[in-house]
Subunit: 475 residues, 2 copies
Amino acid sequence: MTVPKLSPQLLPDIAPRDVPAALMAALQARFGARCATGLAVREQHGRDESSFDVPPPAAVVFVESTDDVAEVVRLAAMYAVPIIPFGVGSSLEGHVLAVQGGISIDMNGMNRVLAVNAEDLTVTVQPGVTRKQVNEELRSHGLFFPIDPGAVASIGGMTATRASGTNAVRYGTMRENVLALEVVTASAEVIRTGSRARKSSAGYDLTRLFVGSEGTLGVITEITLRVYPLPEAISAAICSFPTLEAAVRSTIQTIQLGVPIARVELIDRHAVRAVNRHSGLSLREEPLLLMEFHGSPAGVEEQAKTVQQIAHEMGGQDFEWASTPEERTRLWTARHNAYFAGVQSRPGCRAITTDVCVPISRLADCLLESVDEAEASGIPYFLVGHVGDGNFHFGYLIDPTDAAEREAAEALNHALVERALRLDGTCTGEHGVGLHKMDFLVAEAGEGAMAVMRALKHALDPQDIMNPGKILRPA
Amino acid sequence: MTVPKLSPQLLPDIAPRDVPAALMAALQARFGARCATGLAVREQHGRDESSFDVPPPAAVVFVESTDDVAEVVRLAAMYAVPIIPFGVGSSLEGHVLAVQGGISIDMNGMNRVLAVNAEDLTVTVQPGVTRKQVNEELRSHGLFFPIDPGAVASIGGMTATRASGTNAVRYGTMRENVLALEVVTASAEVIRTGSRARKSSAGYDLTRLFVGSEGTLGVITEITLRVYPLPEAISAAICSFPTLEAAVRSTIQTIQLGVPIARVELIDRHAVRAVNRHSGLSLREEPLLLMEFHGSPAGVEEQAKTVQQIAHEMGGQDFEWASTPEERTRLWTARHNAYFAGVQSRPGCRAITTDVCVPISRLADCLLESVDEAEASGIPYFLVGHVGDGNFHFGYLIDPTDAAEREAAEALNHALVERALRLDGTCTGEHGVGLHKMDFLVAEAGEGAMAVMRALKHALDPQDIMNPGKILRPA
């Protein structure tokens, strides 16, 4: 498997499509002030957490209902103009950027929790609802939604990118936890996929087709999620390790023994240092595992004992418990802030992030070789990982005005992806393809599978108006 | 939601397509004796466990490799002749029937376990491997593959129908447990989907698109599965209940409390009686729950204690434990034989089976009303259910020579599906659509989603040669 050298120009050289005055007039007639064209609003919807700069969309429509979405799509389809759904803009891969111009659809007005079916362990929400909001709503029912990518992301965005995060090692990803969808297709039809039944063999799995499709096949307007009873007992712990290798091997052994650990996060010494500064903590500046256990009080104790023993054998030190909700929140807030803390550790920098995921038997090899390369490059970086899944992220902190630094960071990323694919892994565990990984996807999937993906895209969006220029590199 | 009255003719009135002599000659030149045209072989490949009678395929090719499959597809595509993958023929829905004629591809020669990656908890197999064979191979590694539909099905067939069965309540279905596939497409390309990484956001989820596609989008030639460490402790129990309602409510409460029960199966008094006769048991002829618990010894004990208490409160009696492997095997063998025992309880009959799945809060309503209807009809029946998932099966035992009985049984099935859809459920939890549920699928998915499914099918199989006439009713 060879990963083609990334073209020096990451962004495809395609001019924005025209947005005819007639379309703008129709949108303004229908949506009034909810169709915004001011530069500030457009610029805010023309960027995310990626490091790309492209011109903003021609307009932003603030939708409040499925009918609104269908109407924007219907009008855009008439003129073959791109539309781009926008949640909170926390994508790291340029998903919401208007690379071919067009209309941004701001989904934040669709932010209602539509139904909590506590007995069935399901909740139905609009796409603009954030994961935080879902969990606030669920708490009084004794339930929670575990998928937690760190950012206060919208459920629509998390669905569209097949997100996961810290709890996936036990509860799976959006792939496993989305039961049903409502979607506006490229022909402005409103369809439903799936049902609230826990399982089904009824035809093609359209739900899973739209999960992870990054807005390129349709606009998701309603999502039914699996939720879980709040665990009777929760316990969190941190443990420092003398080396990254010891921390990783500890994790691997935990997974292979089948311990149902709920979270197991790796933070390298650079990230620990950044977190200490950012959150006023005084964690030992060594590789750290941050863990959480869910279950009955006896079950949690049993899991914790097993993991503590494994960590001890690997040279883990300062095994420290956080059993009160306050202590746990303090630790997890620090973990969630690791990305921003990392970025702030080099003032003025931008982060180029990586997202490979490999089978756990290959994790130590993949991660340690890549750390050696990063150290040798001299580029400042930090490393965090959902290591129980074999997924980890480098943040290479580059000076955006220094082309050589960007090139060096991209070379590191390239070598990392090549290594992950060689080790039976994937170029993206949870961030999605977006703009940044279109060539990596070809290397990973192969030409045959890419032809199938292109055929699906063409069948469902023949005019290429649904978030064009993402996932599949334009011909 | 209204379910259209099933057309009196369940099978579409489409004549078998011609199989040109040139294709037969090419197949015989390539495969020699592995291309069989004798009537007995063709008839064996022209039926399954469904109650339909259709003419057999024109030939059966016994493939031994992915190249063989690609060659059959390439030749069939040249002449636009249907191909139909065949595993062990345990489908209940007519999946392997040659309703439009064509070539059956017998996959049983592709029966190798290709790789056990014990550290990663994955196994890669050819499609003709049975679930029994996988588990024999895994046992020495301390692992098991939990998906258990009862029949000694092939992994290829289980993948193609998105099968599940008794362990799905804890471990999920084929949807959750297939990581990657190799597939021969309708243009005879060999593609790979997914990787051995536990999660990925790399493009469209082709793996999940082929899982459950019933051979209509491509032929699956290799499957990578998630497997699990053998539980440290396993314990099984049976409990009789005074009423079906008490058994169902016991199950619902168990699930809602989040008890990680591994199996919870309902067997009604008719099925218990049939099982007693078939397997020489003397189970109390009342509604029965058959349960299994997996975990650490302490964890299993804790789960069992909780469930025992719930059952007791619901009037459950004769809670009986089976802790030795022999006792457990005896009980689960009885459960696995329930279908055949049921069918044998009316000599000469054929079974029309149902497969609805509803959210668990609706399970009692759906199941009890349907039992009342079945009792009122006078048609002999039995009922078994994976009730932890909200999924249950009636077997209506009809005299195949009596058109009125068939019609009455189909009317019961129809009323049941209508009820399940009204209750937010699905017409098929695990058996698939096949021939029998094409009209139910339209009622469930709606015209918009059906148009998407048809567009996908047409994009990937423009000549309609991949198991045509299944899932999507021919126009």
